[in-house]
């Protein structure tokens, strides 16, 4: 077997608490499908047959019992539960399943919505025998106004500094603004080996990593690393260029220890690989006297997507944007066949109506998503909004640019603009609500 897929679905959604205090993040509806469906669909399309899903007990219960949460995937899902309050980082979760990991892993986050060609990432991993290979994308500005936020945001969204070499594939430098004191510090050894480095800041990390098995074993020995994105990846990127240090739990040693275990086989194979590299007339760089890869054994690669959809749904703005674009990723009909839609209502082409909905006369729905089992009465205007499951909207309401969470009830004639209505809340009839959260 070549790769094992691991889906991290235990995250809390700390940056959109208003949406996630009732529904766990993996099950938030995006385009009327649970958020976790998107990465699972991606893995299935590419050809995986089984996935290890790391999630909380709550999510597991909801997946197995709740009929609204239909996952529709043919793959075998191996659900591993961890405690919610254990505050486990992604690396901790990977350490937790170390026994199940038999080959190299592909780690995906549950909030990734993308149509990227995964073979680009995996090809880098295979061809260069890399230790880490990840996916990044050029960030797009979110154009939709987010309910409840006044003015332009640009709150302390910490920037990432990513340094790549001339080909744009080899990852040389990765640091977050939070970890840097005054400026970006780049070691001379890196500059000597790669004199031309491009540093990019406008990139979104898709949190999709291909990791060698030895990295998972290394994590088992080093319990201090708790987050893949925050600690493991910068560590690996730094380690590419450091000479072997005196610290005992160094990843190079783990490489070698593993090799010693299957001693005879691997030493012969190492020789053959070395002979191949020696005889091959290829070099990944030119201009200095060193061999291919500068003789380094640890290599990190990144594939940067120029075009295509790539979103991490971890903020409200991303959630709204994702809802807009989700229909492009699957080609189910916009209006679910089981929805009851009366003839005299206007449904725009880019709206999605969920199953078992009831849309009454003279309603107008534009650029919106209506969830499952939602009732929309007469003369309602819904524009640019996201209505989740089980919501009841009484007559004459006007909803614009808002997010209404599940099981809410909007009273008659309410006027809601740019609001976020929480789960099971009630809006009084004839209220005027502007730009705040309920």
């Amino acid at each position: 077997m070549e790769l094992q897929a691991v889906l991290m679905a235990a995250g809390g959604g700390s940056r959109m608490m208003d949406l996630t205090y009732n529904t766990p993040k993996p099950l938030l509806p995006v385009g009327n499908k649970p958020l976790i469906w998107y990465p699972l669909n991606l893995l299935e399309r590419v050809g995986f047959e089984e996935v290890i899903v790391i999630t909380t007990k709550e999510v597991q219960k909801m997946i197995s019992t709740d009929p609204k949460v239909k996952l529709d995937v043919k793959m075998k899902l191996d659900l591993v539960c961890i405690q919610e309050d254990a505050d486990m980082g992604t690396a901790d979760a990977l350490r937790h399943i170390q026994q199940k990991v038999k080959t190299d892993v592909l780690v995906v986050s549950c909030d990734l919505i993308t149509d990227a060609a995964l073979h680009e990432v995996v090809d880098l991993f295979r061809a260069h025998n890399a230790t880490l290979s990840m996916l990044m994308s050029k960030a797009h500005e979110f154009t939709e106004t987010v309910p409840g936020q006044k003015g332009k945001k640009k709150t302390g969204e910490q920037r990432d500094f990513v340094g790549v070499d001339d080909t744009g594939k080899r990852l040389l430098f990765m640091a977050n603004e939070a970890d840097l004191d005054e400026g970006v510090v780049i070691r001379k050894s890196i500059m000597r080996k790669h004199p031309r480095m491009h540093i990019k800041t406008g990139l979104v990390d898709a949190h999709l990593y291909c990791l060698k098995k030895s990295v998972v074993d290394f994590l088992a020995d080093n319990k201090s690393i708790s987050s893949i994105r925050g600690e493991l990846v910068p560590y690996l990127v730094r380690k590419q260029f450091s000479k072997s240090t005196n610290s005992p739990k160094v990843i190079d040693e783990t490489h070698q220890n593993l090799k010693k275990n299957d001693s005879n086989i691997s030493s012969r194979d190492e020789e053959l690989l070395h002979l191949t590299q020696e005889r091959s007339c290829w070099n990944d760089h030119r201009g200095d006297m060193s061999d291919a890869y500068h003789g380094g054994r640890l290599r990190c690669y990144v594939h940067i997507m120029d075009e295509g959809i790539c979103y991490r749904v971890n903020t409200l703005a991303a959630y709204i944007e994702a809802n807009r674009l989700a229909p492009k990723l699957f080609d189910e009909p916009a209006v679910h066949p089981s929805a009851v839609v009366s003839e005299r209502c206007l449904i725009g082409a880019d709206s999605i109506i969920g199953a078992s909905c009831q849309i009454s006369d003279k309603t107008s729905i534009k650029r919106s998503t209506i969830g499952v089992s939602t009732t929309v009465r007469e003369k309602v205007k819904v524009t640019n909004s996201i209505i989740m499951h089980g919501v009841t909207i009484e007559e004459g309401c006007n909803i614009q640019g808002s997010v209404i969470c599940s099981n809410a009830v909007i009273g008659r004639g309410a006027d809601i603009k740019y609001c976020l209505v929480g789960s099971a809340q009630r809006i009084e009839p004839d209220g005027e609500n502007w730009d705040y959260w309920v």
Binding site: L118, D269, L272, T276, E278, R286
Partner: protein, 559 residues
């Protein structure tokens, strides 16, 4: 003058022509087809259709016959000449007459790269080559051959060209009788057959890219930006992961160079064998070979196989099929792994050492040595010579688009050898300084031609003009049975986008596909005739180029 007449055997459409030499007491029997068939062949040739097997046979026979008639006419006019300069080997046994035609230099090997071993009916033909007095043994051989043809002709269903009738004799010479598929890309029937075969093996078909120059439209041309892995599932189940990795490394050029590719291939096969388990009711010797076939097709799709890889695969397949059936699986696997290790050790590592030893004798102090591109073997030789304290300097010649000379330059300078670097366009300016030329080879063909990186033939040509000795270094495992006299018939087309170069931010050829009359050609190999090569240094010693078929024959007998 006595005339003997021999009653021709009853054979439907073949006519026997009985010729009698006026001055010698020998009778020659030459088989020809009726004149009508000849017209058919010329017609089909003119129409440009691909000749069928039968027609090719007939064509070859006719050519031979015409040549012989011409020779006989010359003979008649020069009655004084007893011996002729035609050097045909007298067949020692009738069986070996099948091999004799393959040693014939030119006639049968023209544009068709199939070795000329097939013209069975003319097996008595080598003997009528104007030898003055035939010994008893030769006459016996002729008679035996004649009897065999008669016997074969009596077999039911023998066609006029008699290909099927020679099945028992063809087992002695297992030579390719069909054109390989990768040089018939412009024939839709062949392409369809290939597609069906790949579908059966569950391997995706890689589609050709871009406009192909018409002379090379019979070859594949792929784009590096469309890898085969796009159409494979990501945890690849059909193809072993190490083979997928190898295919990627081939198509991206990370593993390049004949030796490196072979070593990487054998390394990947070792992984495959290690992970292999015999399914129930199957034998390892048969099943493992069948398992390897789709992998080889996959690798062929990623990048056409080299001659050295082909020989390595043949060796492995032979080793696998020679495993006795009562051998246990673990034992069989360890045996195979040691075989592979031994093959690499003998044919590549030790061969390189032997070649270095011979070559160093040829390098004297004060030499100026010219090398082309990056040949692992030549670099090895130069580094060893430098370590043995020979004083020489090197001129590295490079060419676009691969610019492999830069890597060779780096490796040599790293050792401390003083080098000069030029592009191939400066070759004639630099040659007056050169004392020797060392070239590497991708393969050595059965007719003595050297197949190497494109540009090598030019180097050999110009060096010959300047009377500079040209030495080709090649291990014996790269010798192949193919015969080729030009670089068109069988070659490799690389990605045409490699020829685009960006200078000062501008790429002139960026939209070459939009210009309908423009085609970009990126050839990888070319063939150098043996006249331009002075010496071939192999692990068996230093041989002239024309001795390659002898080495091949010795190798075949060994195996």
């Amino acid at each position: 003058m006595k005339r003997e007449s021999i009653v021709p055997a009853a054979c439907a459409a073949v006519t026997y022509t009985v010729l009698c030499h006026p001055h010698h007491h020998t009778v020659f029997i030459v088989l020809t087809d009726g004149p009508g068939n000849k017209d058919d062949i010329t017609r089909s040739k003119n129409e440009g259709k691909e000749l069928s097997k039968e027609e090719k046979q007939r064509l070859r026979k006719q050519k031979k016959q015409q040549k012989k008639q011409k020779e006989r006419k010359n003979e008649k006019s020069e009655t004084e000449k007893e011996k002729t300069p035609v050097s045909l080997l007298p067949p020692p046994r009738p069986v070996a007459t099948q091999k004799a035609p393959s040693a014939l230099p030119a006639p049968a090997s023209a544009p068709i790269p199939v070795p000329a071993s097939a013209p069975f009916h003319s097996s008595p033909a080598p003997s009528p080559a104007d030898k003055p007095a035939k010994s008893k043994a030769e006459l016996k051989a002729e008679r035996r051959a004649r009897q065999e043809t008669d016997r074969a002709a009596k077999q039911p269903g023998s066609s006029s060209s008699g290909i099927k009738t020679k099945v028992p004799l063809s087992e002695l010479n297992p030579v390719v009788k069909r054109l390989p598929e990768h040089v018939q890309v412009d024939d839709p029937a062949v392409v369809k057959r290939l597609a069906k075969k790949l579908e059966r093996q569950q391997i995706p078909l890689r589609s050709d890219y871009g406009y192909k120059v018409s002379l090379f439209s019979h070859l594949h041309q792929y784009s590096r930006k469309a890898p085969l892995t796009q159409q494979l599932s990501i945890p690849s189940t059909v193809i072993h992961p190490s083979i997928v990795r190898l295919g990627l490394q081939y198509s991206q050029g990370i593993v390049a160079g004949s030796n490196a590719r072979s070593v990487a291939l054998l390394h990947a096969f070792k992984q495959v064998i290690r992970d292999y388990t015999t399914p129930p009711n199957e034998e390892l010797s048969r099943d493992l070979v069948n398992k390897l076939k789709p992998y080889i097709s996959f690798l062929n799709q990623c990048r056409p196989l080299s001659a050295s890889m082909g020989n390595a695969i043949k060796y492995i397949k032979k080793e696998i099929s020679n495993i006795p059936s009562q051998c246990k699986e673990e034992e069989a696997k360890t045996k195979l792994l040691t075989c592979i290790d031994r093959y690499i050790e003998e044919k590549i590592v030790l061969a390189a050492k032997a070649i270095s030893k011979y070559a160093i004798e040829k390098i004297s102090d004060g030499d100026v040595i010219l090398v082309y591109g990056c040949s692992s073997l030549v670099n090895n030789i130069l580094c060893e010579a430098f370590e043995k304290s020979r004083k020489f300097r090197v001129i590295v010649v490079d060419s676009r688009p691969r610019l492999e000379g830069r890597e060779a330059l780096r490796r040599l300078v790293q050792r401390g050898i003083s080098c000069t670097y030029v592009l191939i366009s400066a070759l004639s300016y630099i040659l007056p300084e050169v004392s020797k030329v060392f070239l590497g080879a991708h393969a050595l063909l059965a007719n003595g031609y050297v197949m190497s990186r494109v540009g090598t033939s030019q180097i050999a040509l110009v060096a010959r003009t300047f009377n500079v000795p040209v030495l080709v270094c090649c291990e014996t495992y790269k010798f192949c049975e193919k015969v080729q006299t030009d670089s068109f018939v069988s070659n490799e087309l690389d990605d045409p986008d490699d020829l685009m170069v960006t200078r000062k931010g501008k790429t002139q050829l960026e939209n070459w596909q939009d210009v309908s009359s423009l085609g970009l050609l990126n050839l990888v190999y070319d063939v150098t005739p043996p006249d331009f090569v002075d010496l071939v240094i192999t692990d068996l010693g230093m041989i002239p180029c024309t001795s390659v078929p002898v080495v091949l024959r010795v190798k075949n007998l060994d195996q």
